[in-house]
Amino acid sequence: LAPDPSRKMDQWRLTTPSWLVNISNEPSHTSPMGDVTQAITWLHLAAEAAVEAVAEAQSIDTKKMHQRKAKVAHDLYQEGVFTVDLRPTLLLLNEARKGTNYGGLDVDLEGRSTDELYEEIETAVTEAEGAA
């Protein structure tokens, strides 16, 4: 694969199931539209990919660590690269992803819907593509 910084977003666009847009935020591991665990994981991957793409383009080392990526996302927001601060979203999704994957916990998005998260991340991906 070519070291194209927008590669991850391209892959995400190609592979993210379309049902993510409409998935319900029910406290259950299954929904008629698919699996909530998968939805959370894909959203988290896409959000991190947006941050990583800009970080790679600006030679910022995220050390491939989730916490570091969240910090970089906040810095990029403060610099005006992103119009939204992805840090809370990344932390929320990372925690939800681990809770549901490892612990079998119901997904707790602290009152936010997956639709809302999806829109925010899609915006960030578009901004990242422009910036990268």
Partner: protein, 252 residues
Amino acid sequence: VVSSAAPRQSGPACRRWDDDEVWIDRLRRDARAAGSDQADELGAITTEVLSRARAAGALSFAVTGSVAVNRRTWISDLDFYVVGPRPRLPFYDEEIDLYAVTPAEFRRRLEDGDDYLHWTLRFGLILHDRGPLRSALITVTRENLWPDPRPKAVQARRAAAMAIAILRTGDFDAAVEQSRIALSLAARWWLLAAGIFPRARSDLPDQLRAGEFAWLGEALRATIFERPDATELARALERLQSTLDVATLAAS
């Protein structure tokens, strides 16, 4: 395979947890270990998280995961188990994994044989308890309770499918992380079913070494300590999926 989960081993050290001296000794040892087994920076975070949890009304607080058994690796988070409200935490450079359950949820999980709860009782460093953990220890020891391995098989199967999907996107780092989740869940399922209590993630390959699931241990080891080969990882995931398909079908 799953129906062979009957073999049980002794509860957490078979101690008499209703004896105040035994209990106080455990708390002292755990507090000492939490102080000595953590770097200053991690210890400071633990102290602050504990303080915030207590202020929020936590009934119990324990350090879990690799730190609790002094087996921290470069991919380790700082793991905490809280019975009570989830405290609000500031942003830390270290990745925090705080698992908070209500007292009712805690009791339900004890009855359901939740393996993480059992792990916390057995290996966790208990730094604060107003009843739930001690009471659970007494129950587990008295009734010789053993975690139910079956949910691990279901979770592992789902995680393996996800890992394969991510691998197909070409995002190898993310695929390795998801594979690590799937493989460690499967390792815990198998060990629990075989009557062996799984320790920290980095110990699982050694715990699996002698049995028919040594290949699973080796695949997991590669995701923790090495950079696995993509083809071998894909093969291991497919083999895992087949194994789990049979196991979960048998269980259902």
